[in-house]
Amino acid sequence: MIRTKKIESKPLNFFEKIYIIEVIRGFSVTLKHFFINLFFPSKIPTISYPEEKVLLPGNAKLKSRHRIKLRSDGTPKCVACMMCSTICPADCIHIEAAETETPVEKYPKVFNIDISKCVMCGLCVEACPEDAISMDTNEIAGGAYSRFSNFQKDGLFLTKNELFIKLKDEKISKLGAANRLENEYGERND
């Protein structure tokens, strides 16, 4: 059943009915901003995107472009368990696993995320058992916030080079199957 709600609009009063006074009121708002922009440019509420950037507010920065966290020795924390690509509702993650000599045994040889398919749901981050994938780069994929963007469609296709990055001032977390990885417990500071 379709619910309907009737909204009764307020009847216009005499000054509104003669119209000309409301036109002047409207122009005064425009003129106010015109003079603010002219004499006080620092108070302009907009920014000249994409040359200028502001930090994304609140939790929006936890749904920004993906990355794969790295261990202290520079290898990816990802072990190619395919949990993220299994849960992904948009089927945008492609992983090919391979064997390494380290005690981790498994690493992703190919790791691609097609952001043009991604719905930014964040399920991959929740599914990851190794705490490897995260969406905390504070960049908008393909947009000006992205350090790899070329404003082309292929800028939306992220491969290993774009994904395996370390943030500034990042502390290496000890979560995940860290007990196998002595380099995580080591006291190395890069």
Partner: protein, 484 residues
């Protein structure tokens, strides 16, 4: 006939049957690790504990034989608590490396934990026993001792099925681990079955290692064509690529399959797969290749050249009969040859047959029916059509032959790219005279064709339109058994 009551329902059991078998036959599932229907009973995992009235303690269902009037409970609180505790005990030293384990999706530990366990470990990570990981113990297998729950299925398999006894349990208590006898490798012909029967990820296949997650694979029932035994198999594939082959256990032929049969899927994709037909040393697309082949045959027919046709033990009944039809009805040649009857017997007492061709039973019947000559009688001919593997064995100049092949070979001038039996249907008669069919599991490369379709298209170009009934009449004349 003893009568037993399981979970309030009365069932009639056979003499000397175990509780687990009676329950399973009647649709009541009892969890198990060490019990395997094709191996002896060990009773060491304690997962199948059930409550039996008038017995003071819980009993293991896999090793307790039923007696008349036995009352069995499989779902009481006591049983559930016991299962939970057994699971906690089995998971005590487990490394929990599921993200890198290939068993995920078919792991009994994962399944039973979700069903019966759901309990946090009370042991600290640091206190867990460490054992060797990633041990290369044979041509096909990798052993991870930390994941092992010591059910000894693998040890019993090597003792009872292959009778090679390579494996044993080393050390004692919670330090015990599966080990291989010194200076030996686990290289028997059935080693990959161990990866199948291992209920956890301790034994994993080297070939399948890290390739794909098990829960993404879909399965197609087919038959193995590595020898005349004709084992039933399950071909597991995803996105048009075959990843592995598993046995499809049945009472007629096989419970296991050999390693050679498991690797047979590699003909479908590989560097030497022939994807385009080659006529007169030039690659052609499918339609053009058929027309070029037709031109060759037409010219040969008009010049009254000797065209010989080889029926093959490697090809299906339909394909062989289509080849015979092409030779006899259309090319009007008498030079049709088949291999002589082969001795068929199980070589190693398990599965591998002495006869390495899948369809020699059917082909020898066809050659008897139509009086077809043997390969040895082939002395000389101007043009030879046959399967690649058969032509390889004969002393015929390679530029004179048209080989139907999966494999690329630069020595041949004429090669027709045909579909493998993973990509098309075909009927085969195995050494027990069972008629079985392969089923297409993946799609073939675009420029390949099945032998049946090739023969059909060429006869259409000659102006004959054979009906399906005409080509399938052979099935009325062959002698075979069906399984049902």
């Amino acid at each position: 006939m003893p009568k037993v009551i399981i979970d309030g329902k009365e069932f009639i059991a056979k003499e000397n049957e175990t509780v687990l078998n009676v329950a399973e036959r009647n649709g009541i599932y009892i969890p198990r690790y060490c019990y395997h229907p094709a191996l002896s009973i060990a009773g060491n995992c304690r997962m199948c504990l059930v409550e039996i009235e008038k017995m003071p303690k819980l009993q293991i269902a896999c090793a307790t034989t039923v007696t008349d009037g036995m009352v069995i409970h499989t779902q009481t609180e006591k049983v559930k608590k016991a299962r939970q505790d057994v699971l906690e005990f089995l998971l005590l030293n487990h490394p929990l490396d599921c993200p890198i384990c290939d068993q995920v999706g078919e792991c009994y530990l994962q399944d039973y934990y979700m069903e019966y366990g759901l309990k946090k470990s009370r042991i600290d990570l640091k206190d867990k026993n460490r054992k060797p990981k990633r041990r290369d113990i044979g041509k096909h297998l990798i052993l991870d001792n930390e994941r092992c729950i010591l059910c000894t299925r693998c040890v019993r398999f090597c003792e009872e099925v292959t009778k090679t006894s390579e494996l044993f349990i080393n050390s004692r208590g919670d330090h015990s681990f599966i080990d291989i006898k010194t200076e030996e490798k686990l290289d028997n012909d059935y080693s990959l079955n161990i990866a199948d029967i291992c209920p956890v990820g301790a034994f994993t296949s080297k070939d399948f290692r890290f390739k794909e997650r098990v829960y993404r694979l879909s399965s197609t029932s087919s038959i193995c064509l590595s020898c005349a035994t004709g084992c039933k198999i399950k071909v597991q594939h995803n996105n048009g690529k075959i990843y592995r082959i598993l046995p499809d256990p049945n009472i007629y032929t096989n419970t296991w399959i050999c390693d050679n049969g498991r690797m047979s899927y590699k003909i479908t994709a590989g560097p030497d797969r022939l994807t385009k037909s080659i006529i007169k040393s030039e690659e052609h697309h499918l339609n053009k290749a058929i027309i070029k082949l037709f031109d060759i045959l037409k010219e040969a027919k008009e010049k009254n050249l000797k065209i010989a046709i080889l029926l093959s033990d490697y090809l299906s009944i339909e394909d062989n009969f289509a080849l015979y039809y092409l030779g006899f009805e259309i090319l009007k040649t008498d030079l049709i040859y088949a291999s002589k009857e082969k001795e068929q017997k199980i070589e190693d007492g398990i599965l591998i047959n002495k006869d390495k061709t899948p369809n020699s039973n059917a082909v020898s019947q066809i050659s008897k029916l139509y009086g077809i000559k043997k390969y040895e009688d082939l002395k000389d001919c101007d043009l030879l059509i046959g399967f690649y593997d058969d032509i390889e064995k004969l002393n015929i100049p390679k530029n004179k032959s048209v080989a139907l092949s999966y494999k690329a070979d630069k020595e041949y001038d004429n090669l027709i790219a045909i579909k493998t039996y993973f990509e098309t249907e075909g009927s085969f008669i195995n050494w027990q005279y069972f008629l079985r069919k392969t089923a297409p599991s993946v799609s073939a490369p675009t420029d390949t064709i099945s032998v049946y379709d090739l023969c059909l298209k060429i006869s259409e170009l000659f102006g004959y339109y054979p009906k399906e009934k005409e080509l399938n009449k052979i099935f009325n004349e062959l002698k075979y058994k069906t399984e049902d």
